[in-house]
């Protein structure tokens, strides 16, 4: 029969208490942090997955930030195009008036002056700068004044593509060549200048001739409005996609490294019970030893 020595009894009792203490402290940490995996060593595979999930979540957050930056430019473009349409509607009215044979030369001079101011309004919009001093409608060449008074375009045809959700990119700017001077359409500023010149020269036929181009210009700006609208819709969709992705990533992350609370608490209670049992049992054994010796 193997002998049980006092050192064994004491050290076994000590080990039992220490072991259950470690277990209790682990369970307490888990329950209080809500994390099953707090360090890489707890579960290397889960930790690796967490790194990737966190990176994806951060990526979505960054895409949202980039999307937020572009959404304000869309709002500005929408307003600008609206203003241009208002100008073109008024210019059409004025062209009709100017073409009317009952109007006098003086009337046409007055109308010409208003058309000039309409032209200047459109020019100001077309050459608009953002808060950084960059030209909004010059494509990539944001340091170049895009339009001359005659509507000659010095920008380029490029749009900045910005990723706003996984695999969803929007055009963050509208090149002036798609609004104010379209190769297959008309030169809006030029049309207004021609109209102004015809009116100033008291030429009703010239004013009449502008009406066709003005109508084309209205359609051209409407097309640009559709383009911006489509980009805005894309941006809104991106928001939905991001939210869906984020929810799914968060759920996965939770499943991978977080604890479900009931489990955590039942573990904690179990560990507490084990600790109590170890303490009670140890003190019972040690008391038994002392009593046996009448100490």
């Amino acid at each position: 029969m193997p002998m049980i020595t006092d050192t064994m009894i004491y050290s076994n009792a000590r080990n039992a208490v220490m072991h259950s203490q470690v277990r209790l402290s682990d369970a307490t940490r888990r329950a209080s942090t809500g994390l099953r995996v707090a360090t890489a060593g707890d579960d290397p595979a889960a930790a690796e997955q967490t790194v990737l999930l966190d990176a994806n979540l951060e990526q979505l957050r960054a895409m949202k930030a980039a999307g937020d930056r572009t959404s304000s430019t869309f709002e500005n473009s929408t307003r600008d195009l609206q203003d241009v349409q208002t100008v073109l509607t008024r210019a059409t009215e004025l062209a009709v008036q100017g073409a009317n044979g009952t109007y006098t030369a003086g009337d046409r001079t007055a109308i010409a002056a208003e058309v000039q101011s309409l032209h200047d309004t459109v020019l100001a919009i077309a050459n608009k700068q953002d808060e950084m001093g960059q030209y909004v409608y010059s494509g990539f060449k944001t340091d170049t004044v895009p339009f001359t008074a005659a509507g000659v375009y010095s920008g380029d045809n490029n749009a900045r593509r910005v990723e706003v959700a996984p695999n969803i990119q929007v055009n963050a700017n509208l090149p002036g060549s798609q609004v104010f001077n379209v190769a297959t359409g008309v030169n809006v500023l030029g049309v207004l200048q021609t109209l102004q010149a015809a009116l100033a020269a008291n030429n009703p036929a010239g004013a009449q001739a502008s009406l066709n181009d003005l109508s084309t210009a209205v359609n051209q700006v409407a097309t640009a409005q559709t383009v911006v609208g489509a980009q805005e819709a894309l941006l809104n969709n991106a928001g939905v996609t991001r939210t869906t992705n984020e929810t799914s990533l968060r759920n996965t992350r939770q499943a991978v490294i977080e604890l479900d609370s009931p489990q955590a608490y039942s573990d904690l209670i179990e560990a507490e019970a084990a600790y109590q049992a170890a303490i009670t049992e140890s003190s019972r054994i040690l008391k038994g030893l002392r009593d046996g010796l009448n100490i």
């Binding site: 020595t5 064994m8 050290s11 060593g41 790194v51 951060e58 960054a62 060449k141």
Partner: protein, 458 residues
């Protein structure tokens, strides 16, 4: 047939023997919890039918194979304990899962590049990109420095442990001499033997140790599979020698041809060397690989672009060598304070400035999901994930070994205890036994005394 006077001396020897036995039981009880104490068993041999107790001696309980087992398990357990403990800072340095980790820092870089893509001409956004790049560099440097610092620290700790091992080696050699002398003079020297076993145990914990006992009872101690460090009264202490390349210490045995003993040692030193030369080196290699892949991919992409002034892009990061990339990583000084030098555009050369061009910023953003790491098999984040998985697995394995080691040591100690430990109840019983026998011996003397008196009255 012996006379009554002879019987008196039988009684007296009996009294002495029982006293001796009671004393030994008392000593056992007193040392019931003394570390390294071996139970002493009183051995009383009969001198023959009429001569009573002839010899009384103590025998030190214990089996050398059980001692050997405890030493071996202690060395293994210490190795595992040291490794598990020393891997914590390694894990913190390169596999931090919190928002203070490398992954977050890399994500922040890409987030700022996405802003750059949306607003390529915005100087505030550009400055933010530089700030994030700088933070990232700082993070990578910090991780690398933490590993270097821990290596250096382990080097010092290892040297201190070797020095402790050498103290034990000298103690064992000198106790070998003392014990031999004591035994020669008839003293069993059990306390000296306990001290010697404790010293061997300490040596085993430091570097691992094996004992062979020669015929005279002297310990011959070997470490690292057959390297003698104690031979009788001769101590052959270990030493440390500086590696000319790494500047780190190797364990050597002076005046021998063994060379470095590093890979042969167990115990605390073995654990320290395992972390210093294997685990940390692996972490460094992984971290350097990640840093180099990142800097290579980003430099390549950035060089292809054009900055805000129409100049070609420059390297984002220095240096451009793999070895030690993490510790040496810096942001190209030409960029510091010059946010306009970030090449967000992708225009032909010679180019006029094209501030609204974001195509190269996009190319940089695209690196977030491109397979540019680990020989074009992983994304940068996947490579970070692999580092976490690798270092985590190392730590997990070390933790398991540590638990197992502690369990096996406990088991080995229990086995030894069963053989050589003290059970107080048993000793109390012995005490009672000796007390009763002592009483009986005294009674025997008094009976003989009575008998003698009777005779003398005749």
């Amino acid at each position: 047939m012996p006379g009554l006077f002879g019987a008196l001396s039988v009684g007296s020897r009996g009294l002495q023997a029982q006293q001796y036995g009671a004393q030994v039981a008392g000593a056992n009880i007193a040392n019931a919890t003394t570390d390294g104490y071996h139970r002493e068993d009183t051995q009383i041999t009969s001198g023959g039918a009429f001569s009573g107790t002839q010899t009384v001696s103590v025998k030190r309980a214990g089996q050398s194979y059980l001692e050997q087992n405890v030493r071996q398990q202690a060395a293994t357990a210490k190795f595992a304990f040291t490794r598990a403990q020393q891997l914590v800072p390694v894990q913190d340095a390169v596999a931090d899962l919190t928002s203070a980790g490398l992954g977050q820092s890399l994500s922040d870089v890409f987030a700022s590049l996405r802003n750059l893509s949306a607003s390529p001409a915005d100087l505030a956004v550009r400055s933010d990109v530089l700030g994030r790049l700088q933070d990232f560099v700082g993070h990578v440097n910090q991780s690398a420095q933490a590993l270097l610092a821990q290596r250096a620290q382990l080097d010092q700790q290892m040297k201190a442990t070797v020095s402790d091992a050498n103290s034990q080696i000298k103690i064992i050699a000198s106790l070998n001499v003392d014990i031999a002398a004591a035994i020669a003079s008839g003293d069993p020297a059990t306390d000296l033997q306990d001290s010697r076993d404790s010293a061997v145990q300490a040596l085993a914990q430091d570097v691992g140790a094996r004992v062979d006992i020669d015929s005279s009872g002297s310990y011959m101690v070997t470490v690292g599979e057959g390297i003698t460090v104690v031979n009788g009264g001769t101590a052959l202490p270990l030493a440390t020698a500086t590696d000319p390349v790494t500047g780190l210490q190797h364990v050597v045995l002076p005046n021998t041809s063994f060379g470095t003993l590093d890979a042969r040692l167990s115990g605390t030193v073995g654990g320290q060397l395992q972390v210093r030369d294997q685990d940390i080196v692996k972490a460094q290699t992984l971290l350097d690989g990640f840093a180099f892949d990142t800097l290579t991919a980003m430099n390549t992409a950035h060089l292809a672009g054009t900055d805000l002034q129409g100049n070609p892009g420059v390297n984002l990061f220095n240096p451009t060598v793999l070895a030690g990339a993490a510790a040496a990583l810096t942001l190209n000084p030409a960029l510091v304070g010059n946010p306009q030098k970030l090449a967000a555009a992708q225009s032909g050369t010679p180019a006029a400035p094209v501030p609204g061009d974001n195509r190269n910023a996009d190319a940089l953003v695209a690196l977030q999901t491109a397979l540019v790491a680990t020989g074009a098999t992983q994304t940068l984040n996947q490579s970070l994930g692999s580092i976490v998985a690798n270092i985590g697995a190392q730590k997990q394995q070390a933790d398991i070994s540590n638990q197992q080691g502690a369990g096996r040591l406990q088991q080995a100690q229990n086995l030894r205890e069963q053989e050589s430990g003290v059970n107080v109840e048993e000793q109390i019983i012995h005490l009672t036994q000796f007390q009763t026998a002592h009483g009986a011996a005294a009674r025997f003397i008094s009976v003989i005394d009575d008998m003698l008196s009777t005779l003398l009255k005749l």
